[in-house]
């Protein structure tokens, strides 16, 4: 299949399914990720991905759909993370570490205990298996993505308010806890949806990197969200195409393309400022580019 080049690649059904799946995930993941970045919780998605692996292992062990069990376990994990975030300060950081690494290790052991234990199977959940996307997978990805998009796009003013200034949202009478839980559930669903495309270990990249890229050049939240969706789409499409050309793993290639876009935009933005005379107004807040590497303890 690789090396044939050109558009003929997408004459194969499995390639079309892979591309469609990647594009849907690419456009959806940043709409949820933007709220995590806004809260400086960029790495939470990564942690939820770790926890979801326990759900996958549970599903394989019980001979039920690993996607369903992954959604359930990831949702429970996200709710636990939300509880820790709501009340905790310093000790919460350690609680999250226990949860995340426990989830990852538990998942590996459960997968090994199941009938379908093989390192290839484990790898497909950790790093994605886009090329084996079935028609049913695609339907599940599409339905769940539409649900996530409905929440993140239609709920934007309220989710923005609660992520921007939670105390103010509380004094506005907004249902802060319910909105936080909606966000946590959305994170869990997004992680599970993206599992097929880029794998649980790279999920967070697809949620966060397009947002970090977009905010290099945008001025507002809404425009950042829309630009991040376009960047996610481009990274997913470009990554699938490039992976077919170079016979590399689609998930990892998508993430590398997203990071390449980030670097490209950073350099272009710096160049643009230089050409305009370098009279950039220093931002009053912390450097926006540090967001990606921010630790999970806000």
């Amino acid at each position: 299949m690789p090396g044939r080049g050109g558009m003929s690649l997408f004459g194969y059904d499995f390639m079309v399914r892979a591309l469609v799946g990647a594009l849907v995930v690419g456009v959806t993941a940043p709409t949820l990720g933007i709220y995590l970045v806004q809260r400086r919780l960029s790495l939470i998605g990564d942690g939820i991905g770790h926890i979801a692996l326990t759900g996958v292992g549970l599903g394989l062990l019980l001979h039920t759909s690993p996607v369903v069990t992954a959604v359930i376990v990831a949702a429970l994990g996200a709710a636990a993370v939300e509880l820790v975030r709501e009340r905790g300060r310093a000790s919460g950081d350690v609680a999250l570490a226990l949860l995340f690494y426990g989830g990852l290790a538990g998942g590996v052991v459960l997968v090994e205990l199941s009938d379908e234990s093989s390192s290839a199977n484990l790898m497909s959940y950790l790093f994605g298996s886009l090329l084996s996307t079935s028609r049913e997978d695609l339907v599940a990805i599409a339905v769940l993505s539409v649900a996530v998009l409905a929440v993140t796009l239609l709920g934007r003013p309220w989710l923005f308010a609660v992520c921007h200034d939670e105390e103010y949202a509380r004094v506005s009478g907004l249902p802060v806890r319910a909105l936080n839980l909606v966000l946590a559930m959305g994170t869990a669903v997004t992680v599970t949806v993206a599992m097929r495309a880029v794998g649980l270990l790279l999920v967070s990249a697809l949620m966060v990197v397009p947002v970090a890229t977009a905010q290099q050049v945008t001025r507002g939240f809404r425009t950042t969200m829309h630009a991040a969706m376009a960047i996610g789409l481009a990274a997913a499409g470009g990554g699938v195409w490039l992976s077919a050309q170079s016979d590399t793993s689609p998930g990892a290639t998508i993430v590398l393309v997203a990071i390449a876009l980030f670097i490209g935009v950073v350099l272009a933005a710096a160049l643009g400022r230089r050409l305009r005379g370098g009279t950039r107004v220093a931002p009053a807040g912390p450097e926006p580019t540090e967001v990606v590497l921010d630790s999970v303890d806000r």
């Binding site: 960029s42 004094v171 939240f221 009053a284 807040g285 926006p288």
Partner: protein, 254 residues
């Protein structure tokens, strides 16, 4: 404009067992402009945070517009202006987006913005003199302009009560004047104000009553106290260390 907008009875707040407020009684009536004064660490910010329910009461009761705060649901009647922008600034947001968040209390959940909502946001931006910065990211504004953004956010909900936490701390003179003007218009339309301040500056003519909080209790309730000692000197640069030490006399004898 009758009846208590805020009624606090026997309120106490403790952080980790350490009492911060004890036995506080306070009434604010409709149309009043009440300043809460006190040194750093006196508990004045805690008092307004307790009134709004942002810190739990260890004892006592708070009523808002005649309703116990636990059962109070008409939050659009309250506009809150925190000391500074929250931590959620990982993604750029325009001034207009931040101010629009102040409209949500009136808008209701999942209801699209109507023309009246947009007009209210425009009016709020106008009243603090930031209409021309509406499309700029808040992160690029000066501290004073950011503070004005937060005031516009509170005004966008067309509240009846404004609660402000040190609105003029570290704010440039132009912003202080713009802020005083916006507050004067709000009061002129019958609004009620409770504000925490370190110093009143251009706000002083607006204040109808001052209370002074000292070591977690109200020690003065009445006219604005005159500055005493070196605080009264012209051109006095009002700077305090963060640790409360030896500033008990800053407002003079109560």
């Amino acid at each position: 404009m009758s009846g208590d907008v805020i009624a606090v009875r026997g309120a106490a707040v403790a952080y980790g067992g350490r009492p911060v407020l004890t036995g506080v009684d306070l009434q604010v009536r409709g149309g009043e402009v009440v300043a809460v004064l006190g040194a750093n660490g006196s508990g004045k910010s805690t008092l307004i945070r307790a009134i709004l329910g942002l810190v739990p009461l260890a004892a006592g009761e708070v009523d808002l517009f005649g309703t116990p705060r636990r059962r109070f649901r008409q939050w659009w009647r309250v506009g809150y202006v925190p000391q500074r922008l929250g931590a959620g600034s990982g993604v750029p947001a325009t001034v207009r987006e931040v101010v629009s968040a102040g409209r949500l209390a009136r808008r209701g959940l999942l209801r699209p913005a109507r023309a009246a909502d947009r007009r209210a946001v425009d009016a709020a931006l106008d009243s603090v003199g930031l209409a021309d910065r509406a499309a700029d990211p808040v992160g690029t504004l000066s501290g004073g302009q950011q503070q004005r953004t937060l005031i516009a956010r509170a005004l966008a909900g067309e509240p009846e009560l404004l609660v402000l936490d040190e609105p003029t701390a570290g704010v440039d003179a132009a912003s202080q004047e713009a802020f005083a003007g916006a507050l004067a218009r709000f009061v002129g339309h019958g609004g009620t104000v409770l504000l925490v301040a370190h110093e009143l500056g251009p706000l002083e003519p607006l204040i109808s009553r001052a209370i002074v909080v000292h070591q977690g209790a109200i020690v003065h309730d009445g006219a604005v106290p005159r500055p005493a000692g070196h605080h009264a000197e012209p051109g006095h640069d009002h700077v305090h260390p963060h640790a409360p030490s030896g500033h008990e006399t800053m407002w003079g004898a109560p």
